[in-house]
């Protein structure tokens, strides 16, 4: 084998060309990994808005709470199920909720469509992951609201002590909620009755049911669907939320991976150009290596390794760049629910490893043909060059 430092030094000897190629490869890896991080960010933002013990009950066929409707009577029947958990006050943890979209003035004169959730007395108890980070809960029967953490500061009035104006009424903000980064952090929570009255809505949109344990979920789902007294369907809460983001995540993932794929062809060609040039200018050197006894396959491996180093360097650069996007926070419209979602780039070890492998693979691909040329050189011709 040709020692590795030979390759490292020859890369260093052509700093400009090496640097340009590494930056090119790095940019591709950057796009590749940041896209995956973004798609993962959306999924985790929405999927974490769910507790494995909870079930969301919607009208049969409804894909989201916004288009669903269930009667108050159905909510009462649901709460008689034997596996429903009880709250601290001994009442079953079944919360009928009303969901509506509002347009809140957004930052920089942009308005954003936001989910308003009308909550019942049991809503907080049924969702232990939602906690008040400042202020207090809204008092039942008043117009008081709590804001999801990611809405705070989107307009001057969106904050503790401010007051939102929608549906012709004033809604004082008395608290801020956090939900482990989940979708509830982009919502406004108000009293279900007051919200229902403001939006002219008598039915509930959905009911959230907390069961005694996550293992009861499947059986409960079957019982709801088999119950002839209503046409409802139940879904585990995490599955419901994951589905709400699937369209947007797919859009970003498909678009991003398609672009990365197209890009990578360009970058592989770039690496190939560099490596061909390396081989061409080092013909004499390579001949010397052969003359002192290195085999063809060693020369081949040497060039491929050199190109792989180039790719790995690009991979590291791109992955580091992608990591730097962690501090960027994104708020955009989810086409599926028409409500805003707030999420960030969320890196995972798998994505970072994937980025490194992707970079290295591009390097190896780019180096393969030049390496074959290098290995095929005849000693005599090479030394004469």
């Amino acid at each position: 084998m040709v020692p590795l430092f030979y390759n490292a030094r020859s890369l260093w000897a052509r700093r400009v060309s090496t640097g340009l190629t590494v930056v090119g490869l790095g940019l591709v890896v950057f796009v590749f990994s940041s896209v995956l991080m973004l798609a993962h960010g959306i999924e985790s933002a929405l999927a974490s808005g769910g507790d494995p013990s909870n079930v969301v009950v919607l009208r049969k066929g409804a894909t989201s709470e916004l288009v669903s409707g269930i009667e108050q009577e159905a909510v009462r029947i649901l709460s008689t199920d034997s596996q429903v958990a009880s709250g601290p006050d001994g009442l079953p943890l079944v919360a009928g909720e009303r969901v509506a979209l509002l347009t809140l003035p957004g930052g920089r004169a942009r308005s954003m469509s936001t989910t308003a959730r009308g909550i019942s007395a049991e809503s907080f108890a049924a969702r232990p992951e939602v906690r008040i980070v400042s202020g207090r809960r809204p008092r039942p029967g008043t117009n008081e609201v709590v804001l999801g953490r990611s809405l705070v500061g989107t307009s001057p009035e969106a904050g503790l002590g401010g007051a939102l104006t929608f549906a012709g009424q004033r809604w004082p903000v008395v608290g801020v909620i956090a939900a482990r980064g989940g979708a509830f952090e982009s919502e406004v929570w108000a009293d279900a009755l007051r919200l229902g009255a403001a939006f002219g809505r008598e039915d509930f949109s959905s009911a959230v049911v907390r069961l005694r344990s996550p293992v009861e979920v499947d059986a409960f789902v079957k019982r709801v669907e088999a119950n002839p007294r209503f046409t409802l369907e139940a879904r585990p809460e995490p599955a419901y939320w994951a589905d709400q983001g699937s369209g947007l995540a797919t859009f970003i993932r498909v678009l991003g991976l398609f672009v990365s794929l197209v890009f990578s062809v360009g970058a592989v060609l770039g690496a190939m150009i560099t490596m061909y040039a390396q081989v061409a200018t080092r013909v004499a050197e390579l001949g010397m290596l052969r003359a002192v006894g290195f085999r063809r396959r060693s020369v081949l491996a040497s060039v491929v390794v050199e190109s792989a180093m180039l790719g790995a360097a690009g991979g590291v650069l791109g992955a580091l760049g992608a990591l730097a996007t962690r501090w960027i926070h994104i708020r955009t419209l989810n086409f599926q629910t028409f409500a805003a979602v707030s999420f960030g780039f969320s890196p995972t070890p798998a994505i970072l490893l994937g980025a490194l492998l992707f970079g290295t693979a591009m390097g190896i691909l780019g180096g393969l043909l030049p390496a074959l040329r290098a290995a095929r050189l005849s000693i005599l011709d090479a030394l004469r060059a």
Partner: protein
């Protein structure tokens, strides 16, 4: 030898490298066109918006309905020539959103007065108007599912529970390429007059579209409409069709910005690849270029020769990319159709192709600047001595 011949010879000095560079450049141009098309798609509705149209929506949110009775009151305002209403139906073919496409309930009598860009044969339009459950289907959508007039289409309602069956009465095309021909419209009476409908959902319109006689006065008319309903239980917000559509773009601006950002990265990558190639070429030819200067060629001629090389590379890459991109975009649209909905035909605009080609040439000229300067900066004597 002429200058043209000289540049050509220089380019062909390393045909393999030239081929690789052109390919890489073409790939970059393709990616750039692809991304620009995606951005265009976000703006397509805003671009197709007409200046003489206003959109009236519920002030609270565009998903809150308005009473159907507003139509007559809006129509009576001075300056209003036509009013129609439509509502997003959001029905799906199957149980999932997999076969997603846009579908609306509209008022067949007035719809085409406000949206004349939807074009269909007169007898089909008459059939559409005559059937309460008649549907008008865009040609792209009709082709995707093989629908023709007389077919029955059953959609699962989202906002309106249950299965709703419509009769395809006509296939529409767009008067210009910006029209979405991947949607389905059906008469609102089919749902509104059904006894299955909950009373709370009856006699509701999603939005009103209003046509005004004089676009210059549209702001005035918009204010008059909002004023009319100011103190009603359903106050309205009226804006031009363009700003209504741009509102949606603004809500997805994070995605649009990201796509635009990636487009700049594409240009940067083309810049790096072409720059790298030219730099190599110039480095290898240091002695040739020094010889030229020793023969008395001016530095600016030498610079022009190198720049001509980069211009040729840029032009060829642009030509290749512009040829390949529309094919690729169509392929992509087909791939995602099942998952994210049918996209309109003629995705890539001529304008986009021009801009991309110009960007590619500009970037490759930029890439040539460094190597060209390098070629003339070196003292002639040193250049002649140099063994590359």
């Amino acid at each position: 030898m002429s200058y043209v011949g000289f540049v050509g010879r220089n380019l062909l000095r390393n045909p393999l490298r030239l081929a690789l560079t052109l390919l890489a450049g073409a790939v970059g141009v393709t990616a750039f066109i692809f991304l620009s098309t995606v951005v265009d798609l976000f703006y397509s509705k805003a671009r197709a918006a007409q200046v003489d149209r206003l959109i009236v929506r519920n002030k609270v949110s565009f998903t809150q309905p308005l009473p159907l009775s507003y139509a007559a009151r809006i129509a009576a305002l001075p300056g209003v020539t036509a009013v129609t209403h439509e509502e997003y139906f959001g029905g799906t073919l199957g149980d999932t959103r997999k076969d997603f496409f846009a579908n609306f309930s509209v008022d067949p009598q007035t719809f085409l007065e406000v949206f004349p860009e939807f074009v269909a044969p007169p007898q089909q339009l008459a059939a559409f108007r005559g059937d309460p459950c008649g549907a008008l289907v865009g040609e792209t959508l009709a082709r995707r599912f093989g629908w023709k007039p007389g077919d029955r289409v059953t959609l699962k309602g989202q906002f309106y529970p249950g299965d709703w069956t419509f009769n395809v009465r006509g296939i529409y095309t767009g008067a210009h390429p910006g029209v979405n021909t991947a949607a389905l419209m059906f008469g609102y009476r089919c749902i509104n007059e059904s006894d299955r409908l909950a009373p709370s959902l009856k006699d509701k319109a999603g939005i009103y579209a209003v046509r005004v006689d004089d676009p210059a006065r549209s702001a005035e008319v918009a204010a008059a409409i909002d004023h009319l309903f100011d103190n009603s239980p359903f106050p309205t917000k009226t804006e031009s069709e363009k700003s209504f559509q741009l509102g949606f773009v603004a809500m997805t601006s994070a995605i649009v910005t990201a796509v635009k950002g990636v487009s700049s990265v594409v240009l940067l990558i083309i810049l790096l690849v072409i720059g790298n190639t030219l730099a190599m070429g110039v480095r290898e030819r240091t002695r040739d270029l020094a010889t030229l200067r020793a023969l008395g060629f001016r530095p600016r001629t030498v610079v022009a020769l190198v720049m001509a090389e980069s211009a040729v590379i840029g032009l060829c890459s642009a030509a290749l990319g512009v040829t390949a991109a529309p094919v690729l975009v169509r392929l992509f649209a087909k791939l995602i159709a099942a998952r994210l909905g049918t996209l309109p035909e003629h995705l890539t605009r001529g304008h986009t192709l021009w801009v991309s080609a110009l960007a590619a040439v500009a970037v490759s000229l930029l890439a040539g600047v460094g190597p060209a300067l390098r070629a003339v900066r070196l003292p002639v004597a040193e250049g002649l001595r140099k063994v590359a």
